[in-house]
Every structure is written in structure tokens, then in C-alpha cells.
């Protein structure tokens, strides 16, 4: 059986000679690899609706590896947002951080009480999307190695699935991601030229990406953002409805999120850009303090978020609101009280769905 793997390189923004060099050497090496469909698209964040690179990604149905200059978690959920869904592939290149490792005792107990995350919406196709961070290694060889490993895994999965199907034991779910026509479940529906895929996006975009494996649908971001970025879909799930209403450079809502589910893939702070818990940021030296930074500063995350929001409001010619609007009222030190009659009543009213 053939069994191909789609590999997509998402380019860095700007003209960064080192980054461009890695993209090019990686592309050259992958072109020689058997079993791989290679495409190159602009930076994932900048792919506006209708961009050929985005249409291409939407059309790919089999297993995919996406290599880009952003954290794998940010890339995965960014793809989820544009309808490119699948199981999140894990790579030994990017081991998952131990969730509780860096948490304080307080943090751990908070984690234990955390309401369950709502998970991705809709049907998840039976295919694996693995995102690799091109900032991780400066040579193409480790990426080629890793892609070979993923290709072998893809083929093994496909074989075992076909064996299952042959034995008539295939669970219904297994059919979800398969295209109607193919037997190997891969290959784009439409084909685009390399030039079309790389068509320059009209500008750099900036918007939040929700990690639904963390989001509990508490809607605090919806209350907090006064620019209409967030909305709720038909099922009442939070979505980033109007990406381009977001204010460039402002990461305020991610600071407000109680579950660190909101990422800004391009933000300079690793935790907000989608780094796993405890990850160390870039290796470059930060000169901000030498260039005039750190004069204001200080304060907690919520105060900082309110400041950032005020700045955007004033830029828009609106009134600053400070802490007066959409700030969650956290009662962090309060133990969860036992349910009482009022809780039951409220739940009953909720169920009436008025």
C-alpha cells in the first residue's frame, strides 16, 4: 500500500535569512523523501479566509505534519479554528510538559477543582495532525528524521485500520475522517501551484487562538474583551468570532483567562504564545530593560490586562474603563460551598432553556 504523508512548511514572517535558510534546506531535503507530499504556505497566523494556502490545508484529509515558527500547541489550535481538525500528534521533539510540575500547592488544588475542558467542537476526523516548531533546531536533519518516524507511524496506523476493517470490526468513528473516494485517506481535493500557495497575505494578522483542551467555556474572555472579538456559536461554545477586530499587540484577554487557554501565537512571552507549562523562552537576550522598558510595570495580571485594554480603547477614541467592566470576580480563597436549594433552583431554571 502507498500511504502518503502531507507535510506543510509554514514560513516565517518578514525576511529572516536564517529562518528562510532552514525552510529552504528542509524543503530541498523533503523533496527527496519518498512518501511525502510537500507544500509551503505563508505563516499560519496570516492566512486570511480565502487564501489559497488555507484552502489547500482545508482540503487535505490524511495525516499532516505542519512545521512553523510557533509553538506546536498554538499551531494545532490555530488549524482547528480554520476547520483543519484531527487528533493532536505528539512528537518526541516536543515532549509535553508535566502539567502539575511547576504549580504551587495552591495551583494544584485549583487544578483539581478545575471544571472539565470542553474539547474541540464537532466530529474529529480519524487522522493525526502533528505540529513541529522550527525554532527548536537550527538544522533540517532532525526534522527530516522526525518526519520519517511520523510517516512510519502513519503507515502502521493505516495498516492496522485496514486489517480491522477487513475483519469487520471497524468502529463507526473510524469512518469519520475518510474521504468518500480514497482508500488511503490522503491527498488534497484541489491542487494549487506552489506560487498560489505562497501568495503573499495582505498583511500581518493578530488574534487569539483558543486551546479547547483547556477552555472550560467560562466566558470570562467574552465579558472582558470590549472589541467584539469573542462570540458564542450555536451550541453556546466560546469562539474567536471576529479575528480581525482584535487589537494588534494586545494580549489582555489571555491574562484574564483562568485556565491559560488563550494563546497569541506571535506574542513575545512564551506562556502567552502557547509554550507548554514551564518551557523556557527564546535563547536571545532581551534588551528591553536597556532600551527604556520596565519604567511602569509591576502589578498583577488582571491589572495589566485592564491597562492593556484601556490603551486599546483610548486608541479607538473610546473611554478607558479600568477595572470597571468585564473583570471576573474571583473568590480564590473561598472553599467551594456545598450545593444549596438556590443552586438547584438556578440549575432548574437553566434547564428550562427560555
Amino acid at each position: 500500500m502507498s500511504g502518503k504523508l502531507t507535510v506543510v512548511i509554514s514560513q516565517a514572517q518578514g525576511k529572516h535569512p536564517v529562518k528562510r535558510g532552514l525552510e529552504e534546506s528542509l524543503a530541498a531535503a523533503l523533496l527527496m523523501e519518498p512518501g511525502i507530499d510537500l507544500s509551503i504556505v505563508p505563516h499560519l497566523v496570516d492566512l486570511q479566509p480565502g487564501h489559497t494556502g488555507r484552502l489547500y490545508l482545508e482540503g487535505v484529509t490524511g495525516d499532516v505534519v505542519v512545521l512553523g515558527w510557533l509553538y506546536p500547541r498554538a499551531a494545532f489550535w490555530l488549524l482547528d479554528r480554520i476547520g483543519v481538525k484531527g487528533q493532536e500528534g505528539t512528537s518526541p521533539m516536543h515532549p509535553k510538559a508535566e502539567d502539575d510540575e511547576d504549580l504551587t500547592e495552591e495551583g494544584k488544588s485549583e487544578l483539581a477543582e478545575r471544571p472539565p475542558a470542553i474539547g474541540p467542537s464537532g466530529a474529529i476526523p480519524d487522522r493525526v495532525i502533528t505540529c513541529l516548531d522550527l525554532r527548536h533546531k537550527d538544522k533540517h536533519e532532525p526534522y527530516v528524521e522526525e518526519i520519517r518516524r511520523i510517516l512510519a507511524e502513519t503507515r502502521a496506523r493505516r495498516q492496522s485500520r485496514q486489517a480491522q476493517q477487513a475483519a469487520g470490526k471497524a468502529p463507526v468513528l473510524m469512518e469519520l475522517g475518510l474521504p468518500g473516494n480514497g482508500t488511503n485517506g490522503n491527498g488534497p481535493i484541489k491542487s494549487f501551484s506552489a506560487e498560489e500557495l505562497l501568495q503573499a497575505p495582505p498583511g500581518r494578522r493578530w488574534y487569539p487562538v483558543i486551546d479547547y483542551s483547556r477552555c472550560t467555556n467560562c466566558l470570562e474572555c467574552l465579558d472582558f474583551c470590549l472589541f467584539g472579538v469573542y462570540g458564542a456559536d450555536g451550541d453556546g461554545r466560546i469562539t474567536v468570532e471576529n479575528q480581525d477586530s482584535c487589537k494588534k499587540g494586545c494580549p489582555a484577554c489571555s491574562r484574564v483567562c483562568p485556565h491559560q487557554a488563550i494563546m497569541f501565537p506571535e506574542y513575545k512571552t512564551a506562556a502567552i504564545a502557547g509554550a507548554p507549562v514551564g518551557a523556557i523562552g527564546g535563547l536571545k537576550i532581551d534588551l528591553s530593560k536597556l532600551f527604556g522598558g520596565g519604567v511602569g510595570g509591576g502589578g498583577d495580571a488582571i491589572a495589566l490586562a485592564a491597562q492593556e485594554r484601556d490603551r486599546e480603547l483610548v486608541k479607538d477614541g473610546r473611554e478607558a474603563v479600568g477595572l470597571a467592566a468585564g473583570i471576573p470576580k474571583r473568590q480564590t480563597d473561598k472553599a467551594p460551598a456545598a450545593r444549596d436549594e438556590l443552586d438547584d433552583l438556578v440549575d432548574a431554571i437553566d434547564k428550562l432553556d427560555i
Binding site: K19, S288, K289, G294
Partner: protein
């Protein structure tokens, strides 16, 4: 007009033209004239990186502004971000006023910052609401660099961890 000044960073010599003023905190030069030497409207200043700043950062890869022309900016407000071969930094506004114009060509290709930092590598122009009295001349800027050099070296060598501790104890250097 003060004479041109030179500040030596190891083998590198940072040239500080005497006909410019300097926002020492941000390591930016400020000029009342545009690139062809013509004086701009009253209150308008053009800013760019000093060769000292460029020597610390090396080749500029990526420049990004979070403000668009026409918006109000405040002195020391964060207005952008830069990534270079050696460093990255948030960028802070050198004066209070209205951001009039940004050098659009740098967004696509920032190399002019390295090749012609005092000329075509200019960053933006600000219509200063308040006279930027904190700007100092080349002689004072060179002295500022000398006075802070030891501290700067410690920050550079100490890497990221020591920056937040040490920079906060540094006195206000707005002159």
C-alpha cells in the same frame, strides 16, 4: 553645534553625530530635519536607532509596531518590538505626541537600520505635544553611555536573569 562623538564598544566604534539630539533611555537619535536636510513642521521630530543601539543588537531581522500613524503615543510607552541576530527587545516611545509616520520600507526589509541607521534607516516621526526637553546632545549622550557602560556590560553578560534585578536599581537617566 557640538562635535561628533565616538563611543568605543570593544573593537566597534559607535559614531554619534553632533547635529543630532539623543533620547538616551531608548538609544534613539532625534532630528528636526528629514533625510534631505529640510526642516520639518514645528514640533515634528524624526527618530532612529543610534549606532550604539545597533552595535548591541547586530543585524535586524524583524521590526513590528503596535501603533499606526495618527495615534497618540506617550513617552516610554511600549510601541513595538524588534528581533535581531543577537537580541530581541520591546521598543518604547521616546516622546509624547502623535505618531505621524513610520518608515514603511523597514517593515518589509529592515536592513537599512544596519546599513544607514542615521539616514534611510530612520524609524518614525512624532509630532511632539510637549517639547521633548529630555533629549540631550551628542556629548551628553556619550557621557551617558560611559557612565552606564559597566552596568550595561553586566546586563549583557549576565543574560536574561540579571536584567530585571539590576536595571530597576539604575537611576533615572532622562537627564
Amino acid at each position: 553645534m557640538p562635535e561628533d562623538q565616538v563611543f568605543a564598544i570593544g573593537k566597534h566604534r559607535a559614531h554619534l553625530p553632533g547635529n543630532l539630539l539623543y533620547a538616551a533611555t531608548n538609544h534613539l537619535w532625534a532630528a528636526r530635519a528629514d533625510g534631505s536636510g529640510i526642516e520639518m513642521a514645528p514640533g515634528v521630530w524624526r527618530f532612529g536607532f543610534t549606532s550604539y543601539a545597533i552595535a548591541l543588537m547586530k543585524d535586524v531581522y524583524f521590526l513590528d509596531w503596535s501603533f499606526a500613524p495618527g495615534l497618540n503615543v506617550r513617552h516610554l510607552e511600549e510601541i513595538g518590538h524588534i528581533e535581531t541576530s543577537k537580541a530581541e527587545s520591546d521598543l518604547y516611545c521616546p516622546a509624547t505626541g502623535i505618531l505621524l509616520r513610520i518608515n514603511e520600507t523597514l517593515l518589509e526589509d529592515p536592513s537599512a537600520i544596519n546599513t544607514d541607521g542615521y539616514g534611510t534607516g530612520w524609524l518614525y516621526e512624532i509630532d511632539c505635544a510637549e517639547a521633548p526637553n529630555h533629549l540631550i546632545d551628542a556629548t551628553a549622550y556619550r557621557k551617558h553611555l560611559e557612565d552606564n557602560w559597566e552596568h550595561t556590560q553586566r546586563v549583557l553578560k549576565g543574560g536574561i536573569n540579571s536584567i530585571s534585578d539590576e536595571a530597576d536599581t539604575q537611576g533615572d537617566d532622562n537627564g
